[in-house]
Every structure is written in C-alpha cells, then in structure tokens.
C-alpha cells in the first residue's frame, strides 16, 4: 500500500526551474508523482492545506556547528537537526571544529550514521571536513579519503588556513575532487585579542577590536591563490563592505569564488554590543551600518550567493561570563527565515525567489547536492509561511543552546514544515 500525500494550493517557488505558481503536488512514497493545478484526493490520501504558504526545494544551511562529537553539552546531532528542521531546513553542512575534528573518514561516517538515526533522518547532514589535520593549519588532512567518505567541502572554520602555502596546496588538492575550500577569513595577528568590530563603538566601550582588514586581507590573498590554482574558493560568513567588493571584483575576473553571509550580519550592527550582552559576540563581529548596507547590495546584485547561519551553540554557563572571556557565536537555525523575510524580502532587497535561491539552490550547487521540484524527482521540500508575524522566544528553541541576541524580536515569515525521505514534519 503506497503512501500518498497531496500538498494543496501551495505557492511552488523553485529557482532551478524558474517556477512560481500556485499548484497541488502529489507525493507517492517520497517521490513527486504529479504537479497540477488541482489534484482530486482519493480515499486514504493525506491532504495538507498549504494555501498562502510557499513550497520550496528543501532549504540547506551550509554553515552549522552541530558540536558532536566532543561538545555535546552545547548541541548534539539530535538537537541540532531538530533545530534545523524547525527552522525549515532539510539539510545542513556541519563544520569540522568538533573534538576530534572531522579530519578522518571515521568521523565523517560517525556523523552520517548519527544523522540517519536522528528524527528518522529527515534532515540530511553533509559534513565539511577539515583542511588540515586537527585544524592546526600545518599539514593537509586526508582530503581524498574524506571526500570519498562523504565530505562535501573543506574548512578549518573557527580558524583560518593562515599559511599561504597550505592554502595553496589545499586549493590544488580540492580542485581534483571538485569540492570548495571554505575559508574562515581572518589574519590571526590582526584579529588576535579582539572581541568586537574595531571602530567608534569599540573605542567607547573599551573593548578590543577586530579590524575589518583582518578579514579583507585574507580574502584578497585567497582570491589570488584561487585564481592561480584555478580552484573553487568559498568565503564563509562575510562581514564587511570591502569584502563584498573584493568578491564582486573576483567574480568579474572569472575567479571561481562563492560566498555566504549570516542573517545577523545583515540585520544588526556593532551598536547592539553597547549592552555588553555576550550574545552579541560573534566572529566575524557585527560591523557597521555601512557594512550592512553593502551586504544588502551584494545580496541584491548576486555577489553574495548564500545565506548561511553559522549556527554556533554555546551553553548558558559559557556565555554568562564577561564579554572578553565569552566564546564567539550565536545560534541561528530557527531565526534564519524570519530574519531573511523581515530584513530582506519585506524591504524589497531581494524577492522570495532570490531568497530561496540563496537558502537552497545556490548553496546546494556549491556542495553538489542539487535538487528540483519536478515530477519523478524525490520530494525534498520546505514549507514557509511568508506572512505570519511572530516573536522570537528563545526558550522555545529546539536547539540545546539559547545563545541568541534576538529574544523578543518581532519577525515576519516562518517555516511551517519540511518533507524529506518520505517523511513529513509539520509544526
């Protein structure tokens, strides 16, 4: 007996087919059987009313810290994927700053196995392996083995690949397997000791600054390396106006560069650090209005390919210390859609089509996990209510950690469910 689900009257938006239409979708045993204006339900069919809601190809967050193995007090694969599901994501890429780091194929396999067990495997986990052994930046990790085991990208995220020679070799090696090197861009000597954006606000608050040039110089260097090696280079969590422009120029020159920004970097500035709330401490730090404006421009003109959250859970105890000691990072999976719709779509920075492009089509293309909504394809879908207005309640987050600066913020737009691997989750 096959399982039939009819998604009724949803607005299908799929950038890969350029479709934007209100339609019914019939899913039979996990595969899209029919896409048609009106599909009559047979007895026994499960019908989901999606009137006024968006049906998009499954969203993916390519920059998530699941913390397992090693830091299970912050997050586990179980809690992290549930958080992702509630944020509307059917897939995440997890970063390798675990303990041990994802620098061995056994860790890749472990994460995938845990991922399949969590919530019936409704959220796909595509691991990003480390560039260097133990993320120390000194010798290359076994890149070929890691990719064969299932790693979809390489990064020492949390730290940069600071040695230009190692970076060059990583790019060359990654090129053979067509995976991107995803760089956490930061010149350590320039950033060291800093806790927030260097500038007027840091000067007033007496907090040590991280200058924008720490990020920009490394992007400039890496762009030249990527051009020289003809390899794929991805800039993680870009935060400054100059960085956006460097990538824009790089793309114009034909360099194979892609980049991502986080919702917090297009939503808030270093002004909110005035509260000394440690949930405003992240790396790269929140910058200035000028940077936010440039990021929005980059999202609009296509320079910025991807919106990714840099979901970085930390326990309450770890964050309830003074600003200097507090760890960098905030959780982001469950506020991503709300912030994107509220800050970008509502203000006509990008369209809903572009939003889905940056939350699904483009990031999936970067890691080679493309999908589309078409008859005969596996159903991998996210359901979004673009009009619902809600308030962020951190206590309700499914993530194990609650470190977000957005408590009480009024947002528009929210995921209402996902479908993947024959499983439906509505909330």
């Amino acid at each position: 007996m096959s399982k039939r689900i009819i998604l009724q009257s949803g607005r299908l938006i799929d950038p890969s087919t350029k479709k934007d239409e209100v339609t019914d979708i019939l899913i039979v045993d996990g595969t899209i059987e029919t896409i048609r204006k009106s599909i009559p339900a047979s007895p026994g069919d499960q019908v989901v009313d999606l009137k006024g809601k968006i049906v998009s190809p499954g969203l993916i967050d390519i920059h998530v810290h699941l913390r397992e193995p090693g830091y299970e007090h912050k997050e586990t694969i179980e809690t992290g994927t549930l958080s992702a599901a509630h944020g509307g994501f059917t897939a995440v890429c997890c970063m390798p700053n675990t303990n041990p780091a994802i620098d061995d194929e056994s860790i890749v396999t472990f994460i995938q196995t845990q991922g399949k067990k969590a919530h019936d495997g409704i959220v796909d986990i595509f691991p990003i392996a480390s560039v260097s052994k133990a993320r120390e930046g000194k010798t290359l990790a076994p890149i070929a083995e890691l990719v064969r085991a299932g790693a979809v990208g390489l990064s020492d995220d949390g730290a940069p690949v600071f040695d230009a020679k190692i970076m060059r070799r990583a790019l060359e090696y990654a090129m053979m397997y067509d995976v991107p090197v995803m760089q956490h861009c930061e010149i350590p000597e320039l950033a060291h000791g800093g806790v927030m954006n260097e500038g007027k606000v840091a000067t007033e608050l007496g907090l040590p600054g991280i200058p924008g040039i720490a990020e920009e110089i490394m992007i400039a260097r890496d762009l030249l390396l990527a051009e020289y090696t003809n390899s794929r280079y991805h800039v993680c969590h870009m935060s400054t106006a100059v960085a956006v422009d460097l990538v824009r120029q790089g793309k114009k020159k034909g360099i194979k560069v892609t980049c991502e920004v986080t919702p917090h970097h297009f939503t808030v500035t270093d002004e909110i650090v005035r509260s000394y709330d440690t949930n405003t401490k992240m790396n790269p730090p929140l910058r200035t209005q000028k940077d936010v404006d440039a990021i929005k421009e980059g999202l609009k003109d296509g320079t910025i390919d991807v919106i990714a959250t840099d979901h970085a859970p930390h326990s309450l105890d770890e964050k309830e210390v003074d600003y200097i000691q507090a760890p960098f990072g905030i959780v982001g999976l469950e506020t991503a859609i709300g912030l994107t719709v509220s800050e970008l779509v509502e203000h006509n920075v990008i369209s809903l089509m572009q939003m889905i492009e940056k939350l699904s089509t483009n990031p999936r293309k970067i890691i080679g996990k493309e999908i589309r909504i078409a008859e005969g394809e596996p159903a991998n879908l996210s359901f979004i209510d673009p009009d619902v207005e809600w308030k962020v309640e951190i206590a309700k987050f499914k993530s194990k950690s609650k470190n977000s600066p957005f408590e009480g913020k009024g947002l528009k737009g929210k995921a209402i469910g996902i479908y993947n691997h024959g499983k439906l989750m509505l909330y």
Binding site: T203, L205, G206
Partner: protein, 306 residues
C-alpha cells in the same frame, strides 16, 4: 538629593546636573576630611562590598577610606580572578553577593562591561571602580573636581590626555565627563596607542607633544604599562620618554603654566619626569585627597537614592 541613576557605571551619558551634584557634594566632604574628627554617620547600617578582581591598592584604599568615613560596614575582597580560575562565573559571584543582602557593590574588573553586567543581575547599587579599558568614572570625577578647584570652572578649559589612550579607562571617563561639562579634550600619544575612530568622539588627536602644549590648560598624563613595550606598541620606554614624556624642559618651552594630573602610580622619568611630578603645577597629591571626597559624595548620593 539623589542622582538620576541608582548606579555609577560610566560618565558617558551622565547628565550634567548629576556631575555638578557630585562635584558640589564632594566640596563638603572634603571639608570633613580636613576636620579633626573625620567620620560622619551617613551610611550607618549600610553594607558595602569592594569586589576587586584586579589589583589596585590605591583605588581600593580610597574607596575603603570613603566608606569608613561614612560609617558603612565594609567588606573587601580581592578576588584577583581567583573565582574565575575556580570556574565560578561572574553571575555566581553576583548571586552570592545578592544572597548576603549587600547594599552597595564597588567593582573593579579587568573586563569592560562587568559593572553593567552586575547592575543587571543584582539589586544592590553598583559603583564601577574601573572595568577593563572602558571607564573609571570616580577617577574622571575626581579629575574634574581637581580641575574645577584649580580653575574655578570647567567650561572652556582645554585638557589633553597623554600617553596610552588605547588601554586607558581613565582617558574615556575624562573625555565623556569633561565634554559634558563643556571642556575641550584632546589626546596625544603614539599612533599605536590611540584607539581607532576616537576622533568621532569629538576629540582632537596629536602625536607630537610639543604641538599640543601651547594650546592646553592641563595635561592628564596616563601611566604607561611596562608590558606595552613588550607588546610592540612602541620600540622602547626610552624612546617613549624622549618623545612623549612630559618633562620640565618641554613645559618651560610652552611659555605658560600647565596643570599636571596623573591617575597614579607614576612611572617617574617614563611618562612624567620627577621634577614635573613634584613641581609647582602638579596637582597629583590633591587628586588623591579629592578621590576620597568624590567617592564619599558618590556613595552618599547613591545611598540616599534608596
């Protein structure tokens, strides 16, 4: 008689009326300090904890003296980051204080924002005795008190803060407080020790001390931490002294008397030559006495707001 806030966390944004009230109140307390019997019963029954996570004999002594002169019950503990090493969070420390029903907390900490943090988690009045590189409001107030005593007014004065402005909470409290009172503040130091975009706070930046001297009424000379040399902020203390040290020779060239302040302790012949520190225009020891009066005034005004 009270201030517009229950806490003294910073001079940035503090209303002029509050500053004036503190400075005026300190006049009468200074008078008490010059009497044979120096104790008043103002804060009898109040318990004050001096929470010093960072060594500072001077500031702690000054606060303790002020508290005892006001007849408060005083508890001082130099945590010197010991509780941090034990793994206790600042919030735990704060909760313990709260449980002990303390009325006022004076906190010194090596991280900016800790006084703000305490003020959000406990109900006692919080007085910031220096938080990292952020502010040292009672120092700013006592500097203003000393300048007002000397000149009779603050409006229209031009004060230059000299030296390691980047790491200085005294510099920030001076800038915010003096600007509110209508004085002009400039800073002078090596470019490596001037914080980024400080000009956006409305201060002029100088890198050559001889250029600024003829323009100012007073210099607030900051203590240079010996470890800044090792940190590579300048090549050597010798070079720092030669180019940024405030010496008698330099001051004589300025052609007018310039009042000299220093928050202490002085590195003699590094940022300040001995003959200037002990010279006729130095008000450094006045600052020490005024510090007690200012702290009495602050404690009194905050205690009175209950």
């Amino acid at each position: 008689m009270s201030l517009s806030s229950r806490h003294l966390l910073r001079l940035q944004g503090m209303p002029k009326e509050d500053i004036v009230k503190i400075l005026d109140t300190a006049i009468s307390f200074k008078e008490i300090l010059n009497r044979p019997i120096k104790k008043v019963p103002t804060l009898q029954g109040k318990t004050i904890v001096n929470l010093f996570f960072e060594n500072s004999t001077r500031t702690r002594t000054s606060f303790e003296l002020a508290e005892r002169r006001l007849s408060a019950d005083v508890l001082s503990f130099a945590a010197a980051s010991s509780s941090v090493t034990k793994g206790e969070t600042l919030k735990d420390t704060a909760r313990n204080i709260e449980a002990m029903k303390i009325d006022m907390v004076v906190i010194r900490h090596n991280a900016a924002g800790t006084a703000d943090f305490l003020s959000k988690v406990i109900s006692a009045n919080i007085i910031n005795a220096g938080d990292g590189q952020h502010e040292h409001p009672t120092q700013g107030l006592l500097d203003m008190f000393t300048l007002r005593e000397k000149f009779g007014h603050l409006e229209g004065l031009h004060i230059c803060v000299v030296g390691d402005v980047l790491h200085s909470r005294v510099a920030r409290s001076n800038i915010f407080g003096l600007q509110t009172m209508g004085a002009k503040v400039s800073v002078c130091g090596p470019a490596t020790l001037i914080p980024r975009e400080i000009e956006k706070l409305g201060v002029d930046v100088y890198h050559h001390i001889d250029e600024i001297l003829p323009k100012v009424d007073a210099l607030n000379v900051l203590r240079i931490q010996m470890e800044r040399e090792a940190g590579g902020y300048f090549p050597s203390l010798r070079e720092f002294h030669r180019f940024f040290g405030v010496t008698k020779e330099r001051l004589d060239r300025a052609g007018k008397p310039i009042t000299i302040l220093h928050p202490g302790p002085i590195n003699r012949d590094v940022e300040l030559s001995a003959d200037v520190a002990d010279g006729p225009h130095s008000v450094i020891l006045e600052q020490v006495l005024n510090g007690v009066a200012i702290r009495m005034a602050v404690l009194y005004l905050l205690g009175a707001s209950e």
